[in-house]
Every structure is written in structure tokens, then in C-alpha cells.
Symmetry: D2
Subunit: 345 residues, 4 copies
């Protein structure tokens, strides 16, 4: 039986990477927006969405030295992964590695409708994944990301959607680990809907329980994984309001019930929350007075970039201001991941 | 709930195709060997494996008029699907359709190792499958094929391998049906091993039960599917011997326990059996004195081609002899699918 | 692996019993109402519900000779199983056996709420079941019955209720077979609710697919089982109306998609339908123009007894009329199980 | 959906009980041997196995005041639960409660063979469990115990045995919680066999992952449960030897991968290990240098009683010595549950 488990060496390698990413006080910058999505970020600021602008913008972020004490890893998309710096022609993964930041790569190929469901989705990308992972690893990636999405609605999420998405996440995680990449497991329960906090908590617990059962079925080495879940909140159209503390407590309880201790870190996604809320929730989560055996930190995209883009405006002359915004957000979330963020910070 | 089931129109369309393929007395020619596999068929006959030889050879088969009363459908690989006749530039799918034969297409992308198992396999090919299916349908395909492979060994098949392969077959079937293609569901239990007949029967029953549960989970419309299973036989290294009748009975019992009546046809794969045995087993299966509510026929590759290639030898001058061999094999298996084959035929 | 399958001898024994019960043109009388339920049948006719009345009434039914050509088996409750005839002190199971009717016994212990669901139910009775089955078998029982109940409602049936009930049915079936009793597997989808015909069909298909997967998981020998399902109908409060033919077709389609051919007979329960409808549905089901590889017959309680009780009124002087009613109902349903019932019969 | 979750009040009540039992430095005395088993404990010491001896012996244990700082709960069997003290006619549950010890009750009804497996077992006792639990609760029980047993062998544990045992444990837990009893979930992987440490760890992880998935499926409130698992050790006939530290590390790793943080305590069973080893393993487990978010303590039967019985010998004159032995063992294991036991203690 032993043959189909990871070797001890691989376990040690993966475990080290995962622990580094989950260093207390640090989190992940999700800079893996594909060209289509970055469009929606650039457009409101009147930034032209061309490859050089995308490259330049990411370089700006990656070279912001003062952010590095709060950022342990950065997720790249395929295009960015093969971009290089404009002065010394260093590939971005090498740039990050040299800066003490661990480079990661999005390996899923997006969502499609899952037949037999009420327009629920399943994630594509397993075909040829092993070859791609080996190539990314060779070029400096140390971790990978795969996003599954579940929605709360009348008949949703269906058992079929939960099971299929969990099974694909597990298969992805298994392939990544064989290639030396730490899989970030992202089963996002969407913010859309008018469900209340309790409903989100129940669904999140059910989804996570299914995901961890699937990871066990596939003999995935949990110490060499990270979780990237949604924060447990009411749907964005929920008529009821909840305090930040209630949201934080529901979140911590849900994870205490489902996520094994062996997982080094839970890196929350912002998932539609704005910068202020994302930071406030993370901070409150870390202050909940319950045993939390994991690093509880961030893997934010928009919540680390909105103010940066607003400052930059696609103009190199604004780079300094943009960098300052990034430093501010990284610092605030770094503090929040320790429960030490104060509004006055 | 209704929305995520197939429309009545699509059900009718798929059901008609499936029933045509399962016309009593007819079966499927599996001519979907990819270039790599056809090499192993051509080589022993000293036939050069180039694209024109592959095209010419398939054209030879497809134009054998007298075979058509025994062949209801032919499975093509991607290359052959886009080949054309050498005289009137008709695409092969159109050639077949005009000849009253239903063209099908292999859509899986082969087997890879399934991590967390003792070198068991999983089938690739779900990424972008819907787009490919729509394209094939537009160009004349009416059905599709996806092969999953399970092996019998000390710890195999594992529950993980059975579940994962069943789930992928179901997902493939769901996508095909949405695109108007009848999915041929092929969960092959390999002939390799020294297991006895009973063990093969148990594993086959377990695999099929899991596959049909998965098809139900995905709301696949069974009337618009076909099954392509292994014949239930002892492993090829099994020290015990069994009569053709014992093998036929074990096969029929296994399918009576697992395959719903709604499935129009069970088209056996030859799976390593030679021409003689493949025909004899099929014939005996149809003679088993038990209620068998499906067409029980063939979807043979090698078992319909070995003698043909031996006669052809890659030489156009031998085309007539090759065609005669194909007519003979098609006729014998057509009779066997009615239980009317006699050795003297 | 072989050790934990039934012996060939036991398979043959069980298969013979199941086939006898499923003799074409015959069905089952469900006379297993416990004392509490019989109360609700006796009360409207002003019949006192005491043990002797219960015994006398069942004796009346069991001794109706002319019913025997339409009744292959009778299900008894525990009390009736140990009752005896009043003249020659013959136990009821012996009386039935001598009359060519196969005696069966209800072995479940009723429904309780299944925690963690919206008041769905689970069936009790597994504790000590093997001992009880051995005792019943020794005293003449040849088959057993276990009823699971599912309901259709906003969140029902839940996956949990479906899975748990299927698993208990399978475990019950496994125990029965080890003791030489043919298990009648009864997963009733309730008539309560306002759901339409399509919804009932989908739920029934889902439930049956899960039940047969569970039976396979437990290695239950299907040839030695019978199914007692609901007829697929709209909920009793459904605003839409459907023809008998539509109901019959939906029923046949549902079973063709889920029930293996190896199962000898499907013996429908009346489940709240009155005598007329129960007979009409059964008749129409047998006339549906689709392949139906099982005996499709009845296992009716109320639908074989309402008129009988109305005629009897608890008065021995009415025994003749009561018997005539029973003969009439048995004959009508016997004909319906062959699709030969005409309203004028 | 909310209706079928436990009320907040019940959650608080259960959570308090579970946390009390899992008080750091304390553990459970499993004094629930039924009369049949106690026979095997009494016999070697020439103690007559009659009800009064059983009652007297348990009274001796329960009245040992100095043990109470190390014993938080005691599990009773049905007979003992209704026994009373011989001087003041106090029921044992009341005696314990007054002494600050939480009384528990075994509610399962033992193991039987699970059909369709290679002599694996399933636990009985669900029939009428709710009524029994309410009765026990009324009479002072605060927690319950249910033991499932899995064995490691060529084809064992089978997926069927794992799934069925997990599902029954979950159902038991659900019923207990509705009645106000904290369920102790005991999925024991047996010491029998020659498997090595790694194999035991893999099986234990697989079993626990399945159990916690089942508990989630049944919406069991984890904060109001306790786990009673085996220590991860090689089979008793394993030719390889392992250090206490290796065993402790494998144990901690297995639980870190499968047991949610929400579970307050893991109370190991001795499961065939002798007094010395049971204490040594527990001590080493608590010293493993990994994050362990639960109380890791004991729920020992034989490992807390062998020396006591040897001292007592069924003779009231030896009661003092017996009590001293019990104090010694309770103290040693109390220390071990804090990782503070030294051989010299």
C-alpha cells in the first residue's frame, strides 16, 4: 500500500513550503487575474488593458520591498508567470523567489456549467495537469491554486455539485503534490444570495467536510496543503445585519468543525468583500476566543489592489503612490492576520 | 428541477440514435485506433504506418457494402473523422451516413495514473469536451465513446478508482447528451491477471453498479446511452478453464444484476480476445436461457480486423480479399449477436 | 472473497421462493396490519378491535379458496403469524402453505424520526433481526417485509434520508437472505404532497437507484429479492390531473431506469390509492408498450380489503359475502397484473 | 433548515458536559464491562462472578475518593447503572454525581457479523435507543458510549464495514444529543493482526475521516461529542518493533489529519494494551511536539483495573489495598494525560 503515498522527502518538501506560506503575520497576494478579469479592474481607472500594462503593474507590486514582510506568497496567472522584469530580464518567479516571496500559479481552467444541476458549476483543468505542474515547478512555482465555486440557492448547492467539486479539488491536490507543488484548495461558497449567516455556515461546513473526506480518499498529504475558503458571511442581499464579531465567530466555528489541524494555514479569499471589510473580518477572526490551530490569514486579490489601482491610474508617475497604497494594505492585513489591526492603523 | 433535465426533443433524438445502433443483428466496428495503436496492428503485416495508409485502409472498410447489414455504427478517431474519400472528396462521416451507418467519435484523451492508487488509471478528456462534442455533432457524429479501465489485482480495483472512473464516465455522458451525441459508456475490466471467472463477475458487477449510480446522480438519460463492457471471463493467466457456456452465463447474470432495462444495447468490447473467441462468446451470451432485455451485440476492433489486415498487407491489389474477410467477420458477429452463429458458418 | 457471498444452495432456494411469489397473474395480500392499524380499518365498520376478531377475520381471508389462484403470498404481522385456525388448531403459516400460498412476515419495527432532517423517518428493527428471522423461517415463513418511507417536500427527501433508508433496507435484505427468507424491499415514496407526476418520478428514480446501489454494496442476491414500490403518481394534493395511462407510463419508465432485470417481481403497494385506482393503475402499467422484464403485480392491503370489511361488518353471518368480495378483488387484481382487467369484469 | 439542528440550549448543555469530561489531567474509567466480560476479569483472580460481587467491586472503585482528581467520568453498564450503595441506598449515578464524577452509560448492544463481509462486525443497539437514552438521562447519565470495531486483515476493513459502522456511530450520536447525552464515539481499530505501524495509521485515518464525514452528514454537534479511539500501534503479531515515541507520533499525526478541533477531547481506549504500555503511550502522545488542540486523555478499562482486581481478590479485607492500586493507576494516567508521568512516579 505504501507505494502510492508520497515519499517522506516529498512530504518534508511540501510541508516546508506550506508552512512558509502560512508564516504568522503574512499572507498571499492573489495576482492571478487572467486578462479578461484584469480588464474589469483596469477599466474603472481608465487603464488600458494591454500586456505591457499588465506586466508593468505586476512588476510594480512585486517590487514593493516594504510589502514583503506581510506577503509570503504571490499567485500568478500563466501570462504573468512567464513575464520578466524590464531592466534585468529576470522572470517574475525568480524575482519573487529572490525577494523571499514564494511564487504560485493558478492551474485551473475556469468554471463551466455542471450538467444535471440548476446552473451550478464545475472547474475544468485536470487534462494534462501533471505535465503543466512539472513545467511550472521547474520554472520556480512552489504552490498552485484551483478554484471551485458553490452557490446558495433554492436547490443549491446540490449534493452532486458538492461531491463533484470536492472530488476535482482532491484530484488536483493529488497531482500537484506529486509534482512538488503545494495545492491551495479553494472551495468558494459565493456571496451571492439573500441567505442568512447561519445558512452560509451550514453550507460551508457541509462543503468543507466533503472536501476533506475527498482529500482523504485521494490520500492527499494535508500537511502539504493550504485552504483558501470564503469567510462565513450572510449573502450580499440578506436583509438581516450581523456584527463583525458574529461573522468572525461563525467563521471560526465552521472551520473548527471541519478543517483538520494538520492543515498549516487557512488563507481567506476576499470573495467580493471590499478592502475595509476584508481586513476587519480577518482581524476579528483572529480575535475570536476559541482554539484555532492554524494560521488564519489572507489570500486577497481585489482587497489588496483596489486602492493601488486607484492611485496608479496606469501612469508610471503615480508608481510611488501606488506602492504606498500596496504597502498600507499589506501591512493592515498582515496585522489583521495576527488580530492586531486597529482602525487607527 | 425540470430545467436541468434534457428536453423531450433531445430525449427523442438520442433515443432514436441509440436504438438504431442497437438494431438486432447489427453491431459496432471500433475503427478508432489512434495512430500509435494502429502502428501495432500494421507492423506485424509489414504495413507502413503513414496517414495515407491509415486513410486508405479505413476507406476500404467503410466502403465494404456487404458488411453494412451487420454494422450499425462505426467509431472513428479524430484523424479519421476528418479524412475524406479519395475520389469524390466526401468526409468519412458523410460517407458512412450515406451508407446507412452511424458515425461515432472517440472523445476521451487516454489513460493516466490515478494518484493515491497502486498504479490504477483514470481517463482524461473532460476539459473543453462540450465544445469538441458540438463540433463533432455539427460534422456528422451521432455518438461518442469514452473508455475507462479497471484492473483486478491484490488491492485493485480500489474503491477510489471505481468511484472516480464512474464519476468521469457519468460526466462525459452528461456532456455528450447535451450536445446530441449518444454516449457509449465503456468501463472495461481488464483481462490481465490470474483471477478466476467468479472474481471477474464480482468486480464487473461492482463496477457497473457504481457506474449506473453515477449516471443517475448526473441525471443522464439512460434510453439515450449504450454500454460497452467487457465480457465476464477469467483473467488471461487464470489456471482454471471454463466452458464458453460458463463464461456466457456469468456475463449475462452480471448484466442482469446491474444494467437497467432502459439501456437499449450492450455492445461488448473484444478486449484482448481473438476473433474466434469474441464471436463464440457473443453467440453463447445470446443463447443463455435467461431474460435479456437489451440488444446484446458487439463493438469490436481487433476482432473485426485482424484477418482483414492479414489479407490486405498494405497492398491495394489485395483489397478484394481484405473486403471479403471483413464481410465474413461482420456477418459472423452479426449472426452471433442473434445467437445464430454456427462454427460451420 | 467467496466466503461472504450466499452459498449456491441458498441462492437456489431463495430464487425459487421469489419466483413463486412473482408467478404471473398472482400477487400478494398484505395482511400484516398491526393491531393499531387494524383499529382504523375496523372502526368505520363498527367492528370491535379485539384479538379474536382479528384472528377470525384473517382466517376468513386465508380460507377463501377461490382467491388462491390470484394470491401467491400473504404477509402476516407477528400476532397473526402465531394465530391458529379455530377448528383444527393449525398455525396460519401452515394453513397457507397447505393451500399453496407462501407465508411472509413483517420484520421491521416501524418508523421513527431521523434526527438531522426535517421530520423525515427511518425504519427500526435491525437489532436481533437475524434471530427473529431464523425463528420465523423455522415456523414456516418464506419471505419478509421491511418498509422504508420517504416524503416529497421542500427539502425532502434529503440525501441523508435516502441514504440511511437505503442502507437499512440493504442490511435487512442481507440478514433475511442469510436466514432463508426472501426480502421484500419496500422503499415507499409517500403520496402526501402537491408535487406533480414528474417530481414523483424523479424522486422515485433517485430512491431506487440508491437502494439498488446499497443492495450491491451489501452483496445482496437480487434474484432472491422482490421490490414493493409505490406507483409513480402525482401527490394527492397536486392541482394537475393525469390520465391513468400517463401514470402507468411514468411508472414503467422509472422502473426501467433503476430496477435490475435480475429482480423477479415488482409488487406494487397501494399506498393510499383506493381499490378502483389501485387496480386500474396496475392494469395500465402492464399494458404499457415497453419492455418490462419483471412480473408487475400487487402487494395490496387496503385495496384488497376495504370492500371485504364493508361486507363482513364483524358478523360471522356475513362471511360468505365478505369472501365473495375478496374473491372479486383478488380476481380483478390478478387480471390487472396481466393487463387483462376490463371495467366490466 | 434550522429546525433539525440542536437548539442553542442543548448545544450549551452538551458542550459543558463534554468539556468537563475532557478536563485536562483527568480521564474516564470504563467500568462498563457486562457480566459476561467481567467473568473473564474475575476468573483469573478466583473471584466469583455474581451480582453482589460486581456491585461491591464497582462501589469500591467509585468510592475511592483520592482517585477523583484524576477521573472525570465513569462509564457504567446497564446493571451497574441501577445498582445502589449498600449503606445509604444511593444509586450509583447519584453517588458519582455527588462525588463530582460524571456518570455515563453504554448503550450499544454488542457486535454481530456484518453480512457480505469477511466476518467483519457491526454494532447493534439503535432500536428504541431514544427511549433508553431519555430514561438514562432522567436517572443521571450525562454521556453515553457506543463501540464499533474494525479489524485489519487481507480484505479488511472493507469499505462496507467502514461505511456502515461510521453511519451507525453517527446515528447513535445524533440520538444521544437529542436526549441530552454526550456521545462518546468509539471506532476501535483492533490490535489483532501482524500489520505494521504505518498500516494501522492509514486505516485509522481512513476510519476517522469516514466517521467525521458521517457525523457531519447527520448534523451532529461536534462540540458536544468525545472521541474514544485506539492508539495507533502495530498489530500485536507484527514482527517489527517500534519505540514508544514512534507510536506516539503516528498517533498524533493520524488525529491531526482527521479529528476536527471542535471535538473537546480524545479519550484513548487501552484496547488490549497492558497497564504499563497504556500509560506510557498516553504520556508520550502528550509529549509529541506538534500542535494538539484537544485534551488527549484516557478511557481505560483493564488498564485501570488489572492491579486493582489482583489486590482485591474478591475479599473485603483487601479493599484498602485495592483502593490504593486504583489511586496509583488513576494518578499515573492523570499525569500521563498531561505528559508528566515519569517511570519513577
Amino acid at each position: 500500500m505504501a507505494a502510492y503515498y508520497l515519499s517522506k522527502d516529498k512530504q518534508v518538501e511540501l510541508s516546508k513550503i506550506a508552512q512558509s506560506i502560512a508564516t504568522p503575520g503574512k499572507g498571499i497576494l492573489a495576482a492571478d487575474e487572467p486578462a479578461g478579469i484584469i480588464e474589469s479592474r483596469f477599466a474603472p481607472m481608465n487603464i488600458e488593458n494591454n500586456e505591457e500594462n499588465r506586466r508593468y503593474y505586476r512588476q510594480l507590486l512585486f517590487r514593493t520591498k516594504e510589502s514583503r514582510q506581510h506577503i509570503s506568497g504571490i499567485i500568478l496567472c500563466h501570462e504573468t508567470f512567464y513575464h520578466k522584469t524590464d531592466d534585468d530580464d529576470t522572470s517574475f518567479p525568480r524575482l519573487l523567489t529572490a525577494a523571499g516571496i514564494i511564487p504560485g500559479i493558478t492551474v485551473d481552467r475556469g468554471l463551466i456549467v455542471l450538467g444535471g444541476t440548476d446552473n451550478e458549476t464545475i472547474t475544468q483543468g485536470l487534462d494534462g495537469l501533471e505535465e503543466r505542474c512539472r513545467e511550472y515547478k521547474k520554472n520556480g512555482a512552489q504552490f498552485a491554486k484551483w478554484r471551485a465555486a458553490l452557490k446558495i440557492d433554492k436547490n443549491c448547492p446540490s449534493q452532486l455539485a458538492i461531491n463533484e467539486n470536492a472530488s476535482k479539488l482532491a484530484r488536483y491536490a493529488s497531482i500537484c503534490q506529486q509534482c512538488g507543488l503545494v495545492p491551495i484548495v479553494e472551495p468558494e461558497v459565493s456571496l451571492d444570495g439573500d441567505h442568512d449567516l447561519e445558512e452560509c455556515q451550514r453550507v460551508t461546513e457541509n462543503v468543507l467536510a466533503t472536501v476533506y473526506k475527498a482529500l482523504n480518499d485521494h490520500h492527499v498529504y494535508l500537511e502539504g496543503t493550504l485552504l483558501k475558503p470564503n469567510i462565513v458571511t450572510p449573502g450580499k442581499d440578506c436583509p438581516k445585519t450581523y456584527s463583525v464579531e458574529q461573522i468572525a465567530e461563525a467563521t471560526v466555528i465552521a472551520f473548527r468543525r471541519t478543517v483538520p489541524t494538520a492543515v498549516p494555514g487557512i488563507m481567506f479569499l476576499s470573495g467580493g468583500h471590499n478592502e475595509e471589510n476584508s481586513t476587519a473580518y480577518l482581524n476579528a477572526i483572529n480575535r475570536v476566543n476559541l482554539y484555532k490551530p492554524w494560521t488564519l490569514s489572507f489570500s486577497y486579490g481585489r482587497a489588496l489592489q483596489t486602492s493601488v489601482l486607484r492611485a496608479w491610474k496606469g501612469d508610471k508617475n503615480n508608481s510611488e503612490q501606488a506602492r504606498n497604497e500596496f504597502i498600507r494594505l499589506a501591512r493592515q492585513n498582515g496585522l489583521a492576520s495576527l488580530g492586531r489591526y486597529e482602525l487607527s492603523n
